[in-house]
Point group: C2
Chain length 86, copies 2
């Protein structure tokens, strides 16, 4: 499963469109964010994706989990949001 990576500078509506597209096709998407600004954009994107998907009668929920990622040679804790249809 491809992971959508979100940064603090990501546009929430663009990420929302990507989430909606993946969910329409695979019923599931994964979104990853590191840091408060990125997590905030990811959450806004998921909220917007919900409204995009109501048109398709798809109701999504998400599950935030911690995950360790290596950036360069540093270990960082990311939040991964598993987005699924209800």
């Amino acid at each position: 499963m491809e992971v959508l990576r979100v940064s603090a500078r990501s546009r929430a509506t663009a990420v929302a469109g990507a989430i909606a597209g993946v969910v329409r096709e695979k019923r599931r998407a994964e979104v990853q964010a590191i840091g408060a600004g990125a997590v905030n954009q990811a959450v806004k994107a998921i909220a917007i994706a919900r409204s995009y998907l109501t048109v398709d009668d798809i109701d999504i929920v998400c599950t935030p989990i911690f995950t360790d990622v290596i950036i360069g040679d540093q270990e960082r804790t990311a939040i991964r949001f598993v987005v699924e249809t209800r």
Copy 2:
């Protein structure tokens, strides 16, 4: 339904304990955050609450929605997380 309000200075583990307590009793909790720092703490708290609740065999998912709130005489957009058992 009482809403758990989270700020950027909230301790994620303390909020997680509160979420787990409300979910155990009512199978549902609502968590509200305004701003990136608060949203980040809320998401971390939900991720931690998930691990607290596995002991009780309770699996939670969340749904982020936008909501307008009045703070003083200003309208702000908050994120409300509806936390439910799967």
